[in-house]
Subunit: 229 residues, 4 copies
């Protein structure tokens, strides 16, 4: 992948509305090694030794050198994904505010719906038993009613911050998000897990693709540690 | 106020569904003084000197001694208030998960709606120009339609995590939240401001009432600093 | 242990100068369960189920409910231990300042010295090959010379903040430190490890004793997870 | 200043041993504007409007957009400066460890000493009343004795982690430190103040020089806000 592609938006949920885009980043695998070696009073060594040191740091939980690598993303995702994302308190966020603007309101309509797993409160699976057409239609129609109610309230002169309260959680939002690699790995570990909701897992996977290009050695060690290979 | 009242739930939005409740707390005005005095190698002094020290710390931005006082709250508020609240990354949160349960779904229906301020994108005011009955009815009806769509999706066997995406942002949520006094003051400063949305301001005011009972000297200094008297 | 003993200072390094003291704390094992159950929209259950839930949370890394339990300690330790301690950025600290006071300057003189492990840069072991009397004497004498130089500088009218720069890293310092149980467990995990320096391990052990009295179920689950039983 | 100069080490304390060096950074004044505008659902505007927006954000304490700009520094400073620096818990640090290496031990010997201000416990001033030659000599000699004691302990086979406890707080240390602009401004505000110790103020000033080159508009707004012009 060339650098020009590296910052192209990825259509994470494949509906033409979602995206994750790498805006910029600082540091690379060598930066981790450089920060770690200051502890020993050492400078650069061979590539092979760099590789071994990164694996050692990862597998022995010496995570502070990974904090000097920083990524800035631009994201569009549904509100319910945003709420899961913003539980991560080590990121920096700036989000579109529906107190400020009524522009460009869009909704996420799933292609396929998941079935409730009855033996596991949190679990869900894709299943042929679900009639996706009916479900999509139900969500779509409900979304249109909500937007309609919103517009009525706006036309009554009601404040945007009040009118928006009828808008559902599949509404798209947009934000900038900056995080260091240590905390990004923590995010991926939690959000790529089968316990996480399908939608946020797609964002975690998109980030993995970006790490493949930017910090391949660290990513390889991370995958080994967490059995993601 | 007696201690027994101190931990009574406060019905913040006066709809019988909202609440803010102090679960427990650690420390008091003297704890701040104690933590601050270790810097000077000093112990307890007179009450008057304690009072002066707290004012000094507050007015000169020496905020670290306020971090040793910690409050745990139990809160029920609408989702849109929760999203503003959780932007504060220095708190600890545990929230009800709509991936786990369909129990007790309720909605916030404002008594009075605010009007969009046309000269200030973020601004809003209560106004006689708004027909509150029509607005309430619009929100209420939309809320019923949303809950209806949710129930249809659930009956189709669709996972709760997916069905909930049609539920609007005036749905109530519930969480435990723990924070130290330094960061609580920061929250109040931002959320009691006239720039903040009316609903979250009511929560900030309810917290002020609790601080009045638990750390009166610190609160007095805080109010003086930020012209809240 | 009775509550009156719970807040007694522990002489961690057994030299009559060191101490770790629990000042106060908020919450207990039940508070963790309470915070966790809000996720499911559930209240209290049987003690056995509480026990199982805490183990489940710990072993599956659902650590947020442990953030609502908070401990405030009062500590006296050598500067080199303090520097290791303060690398933990999730604690709140207030430390005695040698810019403010010359009172009560004391030093840590080890009873027994550790030998450098030649095969492991970071390693050290207690060993009969070390002449502890000579080593103690060397440290003690050097410490006296340092304090003497400090006093000369002070008598010359030099500022305390400048004079103190000759004082060595075995000087005692004192601080208040507040932390939640999630981050306290992280501290213990790192600082009780055989890789940690012997002195800070003693502080980690003293904290373990306190947790035994205050959150026994959580501690038990923590020990099981990290093979500390 | 050219980019090549931007990352040159600055000899902060002018003794040939200290340095502060910008390793790399991400973002600029435009990045702040970009992150802020997402709130309004807006993109790029004119330079003049960018300038006004940055001033507005700074003066109204809307600091989150400043979090997306990140700086990585490489620093050599005395231990007592390091301890003040590491109280800032929002930075990422990797420091040389004297448990790992005995290489390159150096000490800071002040050129001029400050006099204790008798009316202000924390205060100090440069003064002709201080005999700097005697003071320098006292510190230098004490430093040599400490290093000598350290070497004796090392030759006895004692572990580096134990031998180093006799080394004084004017010993140099070295670290990498990464921070976002919001927290960097907070650091500068506290550490450039006349209340801060002279030595750390020099580091804060060196950082200001770097911000002049990298985020001039934000720095200008910051200086205006805090009367640093």
């Amino acid at each position: 992948m060339e650098s020009s592609n590296l910052t192209e938006p990825i259509d994470v949920l494949e509906d033409g509305k979602s995206f994750l885009r790498l805006v910029e980043y600082i540091g690379d695998d060598f930066g981790i090694v450089q920060s770690a070696r200051v502890s020993f009073g050492q400078g650069r060594k061979t590539e092979e030794e760099d590789f071994k040191l990164i694996r050692y740091l990862m597998l022995h939980n010496h995570m502070s050198p990974f904090e000097h690598i920083v990524f800035k993303f631009h994201v569009a995702c549904p509100l319910f994904v945003r709420s899961q994302w913003f539980r991560h308190r080590t990121w920096s966020y700036n989000e579109i505010s529906r107190r400020y603007t009524s522009k460009n309101i869009q909704f996420y309509i799933p292609e396929r719906f998941r079935k409730q797993d009855l033996s596991n409160r949190q679990g869900s699976v894709f299943s042929d038993e679900i009639n996706n057409d009916i479900a999509r239609n139900t969500v779509k129609k409900q979304t249109e009613l909500a937007l309609n109610a919103y517009n009525i309230l706006i036309e009554m002169g009601i404040a945007r911050e009040h009118a928006r309260i009828v808008l559902p959680q599949n509404m798209y939002t947009e934000f900038y998000a900056t995080v260091n690699l240590r905390n990004l790995f923590h995010f991926i570990k939690l959000r790529i897990s089968p316990e996480a909701q399908w939608e946020i897992r797609q964002y975690a996977k998109a980030i993995l693709e970006i790490l493949e290009e930017t910090v391949p050695i660290s990513l390889d060690a991370f995958k080994e540690k967490h059995d993601l290979k």
